[in-house]
Symmetry: C2
Subunit: 138 residues, 2 copies
């Protein structure tokens, strides 16, 4: 869903790789499967969402947090808005807005995902930040 | 405010540099001066906070957004909790929780700041994400 501005031209298309990883994990999430995000999160990942009282640290904590959510999420449709990727060296940050449609309800999200390329060439998330758009404000 | 675990030992202390930049900008912000953050934000910065309807893109947009806030913020005291910095190549991500004390009111924040080192060696923010901790949930 990157627009033409979001696509890097280079020896490798980092924007395309990052967006592909994110969308693949998101689509699993939307069908009730947290394993897509867990598979692409690093050992030393840290994580924020609107339900946690503080930052969560490490893949084991994220696995424990997501485990009870398996099978609970059912997002029928999503729209990702104006994703941008900025990369330098072995890191890349993806930032986007997301609208998730669950039945008649639409939840709007802000999302930041920071990816790091490992020595094996695989990109993994080291920081996730999900937040509500304008919570409690209309 | 990094604890000993947060401090990298290496030829340069990236954690210390990043935390120093962030705290300096935050302390200006807390006294009503947005210029500290603007000074360390890159041309291509993108930005989320709980008051915006979508991602804000570019330093000019951030300057315009912050301008009316000059002189309006007065945070008497803040506490930064468990900041972590992960760096690779020319990028670094800082993630922390923050409690800001304004009079009798305490606001708890999640914050992600992604810094990129420029060709001049200076670190500048390319992605900022501020969100409320557990908005509307107690």
């Amino acid at each position: 869903m990157a627009d033409s501005k979001g696509i890097e031209r280079g020896e490798e298309n980092i924007t395309g790789i990052i967006l592909g990883l994110e969308k693949s994990a998101l689509e699993k999430w939307n069908s009730g499967d947290p394993s897509g995000y867990l598979d692409i999160s690093a050992e030393d990942v840290s994580y924020f969402d609107p339900f946690l009282p503080r930052k969560l640290s490490g893949i084991a904590a994220l696995e424990a947090y997501y485990a009870p959510l398996a099978g609970k999420v059912r997002v029928e449709k999503y729209e990702m808005f104006s994703p941008t990727v900025i990369a330098s060296g072995g890191m890349a940050v993806l930032a986007f807005n997301l609208s998730s449609h669950e039945g008649n309800r639409i939840q709007d999200w802000n999302c930041t995902e920071v990816y790091r390329r490992g020595s094996d060439g695989a990109w993994k998330i080291v920081q996730t930040h999900w937040s509500f758009v304008r919570p409690g404000l209309e």
